[in-house]
Amino acid sequence: MMSDQPLLKIINLVKHYPIHRRGVLLKKQIGVVHAVDGVSIDIDPGENVGLVGESGCGKTTLGKTLMYLEEPLSGQVIYDGINMFDAFHSGDTKKIHMIRHGIQMVFQNPYTSLDPRMTVYDILSEPYIIHKHVPKDKWKDTVYELLRMVNLEEYHAERYPHEFSGGQRQRIAIARALAVDPRLIIADEPVSSLDVSIRAQILNLLMDLQKEKGLSYLYISHDLSSVRQVTNRVAVMYLGRIFELSKTDELFINPLNPYTQALLSAVPVPDPERNRTRIILPGEVPSAINPPSGCRFHPRCTYATQICRQEEPSLREVLPEHLTACHYAEKFL
């Protein structure tokens, strides 16, 4: 059930990190990491949008900035009609609470995302202490309900994080995100630290929860295979910019960007019968401090020409609901 208004609207978000050098007395800024350099996406209610890219592409920074864990340089984020950064800057508590209720995050590392000094009960009831949206006599029941939702047992509530396996900890982290009854969950590499046989448990849990509660996700991952299974739409990021954005199956079957093509072909397929031609990219991902001129991918691109070196291609719709940032996108149709 989709409404007209996207749940989350990201408009030209920019986040840079300054690089300092220690002087004798003061620090001096000598450069800037262009972590996120102008990103715009919409997420509709009930949608699962994947964000993929390699290290340094800015996907984690984007996630953190959306949670307002980092202060952006410029750009806007509109959550359910509320201008997020304005709300935080103005200190409008009502709006801030709506945002904190609405968007939650699940982090990558299950070993550091839970406070080792708190019991599971404390961790899951903390949101109630802060937001006071559940009366104290109902806390126990609500915590048990949360545990059940993530397929854990009631007796787990009195335990400490270190008594659980990685997969179980991740479930606790998911339960915590659910405690405020959010509408959007940003999942930053939620299964990368887990064993293969456990990943399916967590991914399926996320998908089940989505169906049950009508949640939206921003699924950030470098694991393209899992992105294929769980998302409706995918955005490919490279050096702080979005290079391609379309419906999931469409992107994987018909990539219209040389970077996406190389990325997809690089992933090994667990099937020895599949013969594929691999596109091997030369070089490494360049540093985000001094991104290449023009199209950021041009130094590694086989199709690069003069215009690619000079002019940065904008993200444009080449097929219905399929956007790509490449001067020669039409070649791949």
Binding site: R100, Q104, Y111, D115, E126, I130, Y160
Partner: protein
């Protein structure tokens, strides 16, 4: 491990797997650490010594045969006597019963040792916390402040202040003065530790998760960060106590101590001149110092081992 039925639900599986991990005893960090500490014989010995001294400090008024700084032995004609049944540690030339002085001195030294540490920790934690948690110029300034204080040579400065405030010393506030001085000039290493730990913990994801839920800065600092940085502070505190006791002894030994209160240092200082003939006067308080410092050090080491290993299996 027997099972009656096929693994049907994942619940049964989980119960079993968790059961296989062993019965649950107290699982908080502290319970685990205590169990580990218990196995460390040196640490236990140290703890025993420390508790022993604490007991004496608390009961010295009743345990000691003679009151503090009482020269009664002189009037009884028993000054300068070697250890005997009446005076187990002998008497000083001036007529002090060394056994009583050592007992009373325990209170004095623990007062200074623990007190100075408490002051240092309070100051160090506040400064370290602000330096660690805030960003920008304030944090840098506090860091520089800590560095300045760190490099100040402690002893000469304390001696100077003790001389300057000699009136207070003469009025019997000597120990408190020393305590304050040790605390006020000793906080810098604590602030480094606190700052470092906060920098580390601040970026950990569970702190970010709390921010994401909407926790206030206050809550984040006191509910999340502080409990997670206590470990190195506790260990340092134990070692600090040992160091401060030693420093008190040195200060008194150098003649800057408070003659009106019983401390090990004063007793040593008074007896050192006649060490050849009346060796018992400096030696017994010296042994007490040694034992106390050793005790606290062993506890500190034991705590370090018990608290440090990461609790992941």
């Amino acid at each position: 491990m027997q099972k009656e039925t096929k693994p049907e639900s994942s619940t049964t599986v989980k119960r079993e797997v968790t059961a296989a991990r062993g019965e649950r005893r107290g699982a908080s960090q502290w319970a685990v650490a205590w169990r580990r500490f218990r196995r460390n014989k040196a640490g236990l010995a140290g703890l025993f010594i420390v508790l022993f001294f604490v007991f004496i400090a608390l009961t010295s008024t009743w345990l000691a045969p003679y009151p503090s700084r009482s020269f009664q032995a002189l009037y009884e004609g028993e000054a300068g006597q070697p250890p005997s049944w009446k005076h187990p540690f002998g008497t000083s030339r001036a007529g002090l019963d060394i056994y009583s002085e050592v007992l009373h001195g325990t209170r004095g030294d623990l007062y200074v040792g623990v007190g100075a540490t408490v002051v240092a920790i309070l100051i160090g934690m506040v400064i370290g916390a602000v330096a660690g948690y805030s960003r920008g110029a304030g944090s840098d300034v506090l860091l520089m402040l800590s560095q300045v204080f760190y490099t100040i040579p402690l002893l000469p400065l304390i001696l100077l202040f003790a001389r300057v405030f000699s009136i207070l010393v003469a009025q019997g506030f000597g120990l408190t003065l020393i305590l304050l001085l040790l605390g006020v000039f000793g906080w810098s290493s604590i602030s480094f530790i606190v700052r470092g730990e906060i920098l580390r913990v601040r970026e950990l994801e569970f702190v970010q998760a709390s921010r994401a839920i909407g926790a206030s800065k206050f809550r984040i600092i006191f509910r999340h960060i502080v409990p997670n940085i206590l470990t190195p502070i506790i260990i340092t505190a134990t070692l600090f106590i040992a160091g401060n006791i030693l420093t008190e002894v040195v200060i008194s030994f150098l003649g800057f101590g408070d003659v009106n209160t019983s401390t090990w240092g004063i007793t040593i200082q008074e007896g050192i001149t006649y060490m050849r003939t009346e060796w018992w006067t400096p030696v017994f308080p010296g042994l007490a110092t040694l034992l106390a410092v050793l005790g606290f050090n062993l506890v500190g080491d034991g705590l370090s081992d018990a608290l440090n290993p990461r609790l992941r299996d």
